[in-house]
Symmetry: C2
Subunit: 89 residues, 2 copies
């Protein structure tokens, strides 16, 4: 599982730190990501057991993403990466 080495995975995880988000909202927090990349990324993160995908059987569809305990465990790293990234601007 290369968490690093991917462009979007860390960003998705970072945005989920504050709590569960529904699909569309989460995607909008990441300008520049395409529809295809977004679904691909969250699918992989789900396979990595870093987040859960909950589908509510309603119409129109409602899907929520939430960090697993494992996903939460990288909170510190993600925050530090964020902090460090800000220094370099």
């Amino acid at each position: 599982m290369d968490l690093i080495g991917t462009k979007w995975k860390p960003q998705v995880l970072f945005h989920l730190l504050e709590g569960p988000q529904r699909s569309g909202v989460l995607q909008q927090t990441m300008p520049g990501i395409s529809n295809k990349m977004f679904t691909q990324t969250v699918r992989e993160l789900e396979q990595d057991h870093l987040l859960t995908r909950t589908v509510y059987p309603v119409v129109p569809p409602h899907v929520e993403y939430e960090l697993t305990a494992l996903g939460q465990s990288i909170k510190l790293i993600l925050c530090e990466l964020d902090e460090w990234g800000k220094l370099e601007e």
Copy 2:
């Protein structure tokens, strides 16, 4: 500067945490990296001001890579990533 989002940059930095290394030795610590990728990676890290490249004018060539202060500043993150990576095996 996307430090994450690349496969090799973090690895190069991690291996330099222990101190300066000469080119060939550093490359050998990373099995799987090709010659091309290695030079490309260190060149970019140099442009990012994360490491310095010192060329000793001798024959055969002797080149050393060393972290800059900026490079040192991500030590904590690299170590945590390493720790976390071990958990997931």
